[in-house]
Symmetry: C2
Subunit: 279 residues, 2 copies
Amino acid sequence: MAQNNTITFFDLTMAHGATTSPFVWSTKFALKHKGFDLDVVPGGFTGILDRTGGVTERLPAIVDDGRFVLDSWGIVEYLDATYPDRPLLIPHPGVASLARAVDAWFWRMIVGPWMRCFCADYRDLCFEQDKAYVTHSREIMVGMRLEEKQAGREDRLPQISAELEPLRIALRETPWLGGDAPNYADYRIIGPFLFLASVATIPPLAEDDPVRDWVERVRALFGGLGHHPGLFPLWGLRRREGDPELFAPQGQGGIHKRNTGPESTRAETRRITEGMTQD
Amino acid sequence: MAQNNTITFFDLTMAHGATTSPFVWSTKFALKHKGFDLDVVPGGFTGILDRTGGVTERLPAIVDDGRFVLDSWGIVEYLDATYPDRPLLIPHPGVASLARAVDAWFWRMIVGPWMRCFCADYRDLCFEQDKAYVTHSREIMVGMRLEEKQAGREDRLPQISAELEPLRIALRETPWLGGDAPNYADYRIIGPFLFLASVATIPPLAEDDPVRDWVERVRALFGGLGHHPGLFPLWGLRRREGDPELFAPQGQGGIHKRNTGPESTRAETRRITEGMTQD
């Protein structure tokens, strides 16, 4: 059991001091949800193998009473299995399956595109000793110079914002992805928003984005764990002429509106039958 | 309580007799999960208001001992609240939030595009008396003639298949979206696959698609509830030259692979650091 209620946590930050890795962010929230204090080992992208004594090249990683635990999902499973009497991160096995589906959608449609909008900033903001590795590895990942990949992001950010709609819809009827209370589903998805805040030198989302309420409520948990002076503002993207809508109008109809009888569907029925001759 | 364990279920079928509405399919599975027998009221797209005595223009709808219950989510909540001792459809509130996110992604990226690939078949397969309404309403929805919208689908189906990756990733580590056992998350997502089977005059997915195992296991539940002689084969799409990969190679690395130590990340590290000079 964690001595003095403390778990060793390997951080992965930018030069400004805020965590950048989405998975490391999610893990930090997970450890706090279980009620632990963190003994933070600071650091950037390079030297992880040295810092962890050869145990891993990638973070997150934790040490609990001398025992290394790796991998964001691996850590979550370890914490719930080892400390089942503390609040569960995954209170039902279906939460893990569905969170993986949501996470996979989120990376494919949102997080990957965000990363490509800020990949040169990402390099510029990292520690001096990380710049060669970050430049080299990310240029291989994106297939071109980071400045080229990042260019034109003003034209891409509005569409990425529009693609967040599934998250907005999920949060219309419940305050947390976890339902009545936050769980690892919330922490898993907040991770990439906080990665974004660690690199977003221009605001990627609108001031009045409906997802803002949830993002800020998650950031405020555990004494404001999702805040750090190094982070950039997420809110302030403005829609320009010709841009797509940044988010769907609230109270919209369609398949995600509930049918409570003919009054609730009349407007749509009128629209799709207008001009139709009755036999 | 349902007399003789039976609930009245308003079906929405094609002329071939198989259910077509995704939400009606999901509801049928939900009622069977709760262990009910169905008293099926057959029918197509028109006349729903008459069949339900003016209660609703849209399905699903059920009647339990004289009480009408509307809306796919409304029915699920009613069934779990009224019959809490039968297997729960939503065993944790987070399952509902996350299933809504997955469902919203699925409709946006997959189901809407599938519908546009089969919208003329959809009209051709419905009951004679439904054709005028389906043609008129769907042409308003898609903004052009149904034949025009459907045209070129051979070029679109491969990309839609590729977009299913989040579902394939979710099902890599657990047999059901519900975790160890199916719940409403599985039924919610199988609904649109069975809609697709009700209209897919050409196969929309590959024979060896990794999602096939889950789809067929859900269809086999409750004595093969997801089978009907009117349904078309889902599997048989062939990748043509120039098409995207229909699904990602299995055992792929990347962010959805678990880190178990340096051996598990060495290949990726080698790839992204190749040619880098060591200082």
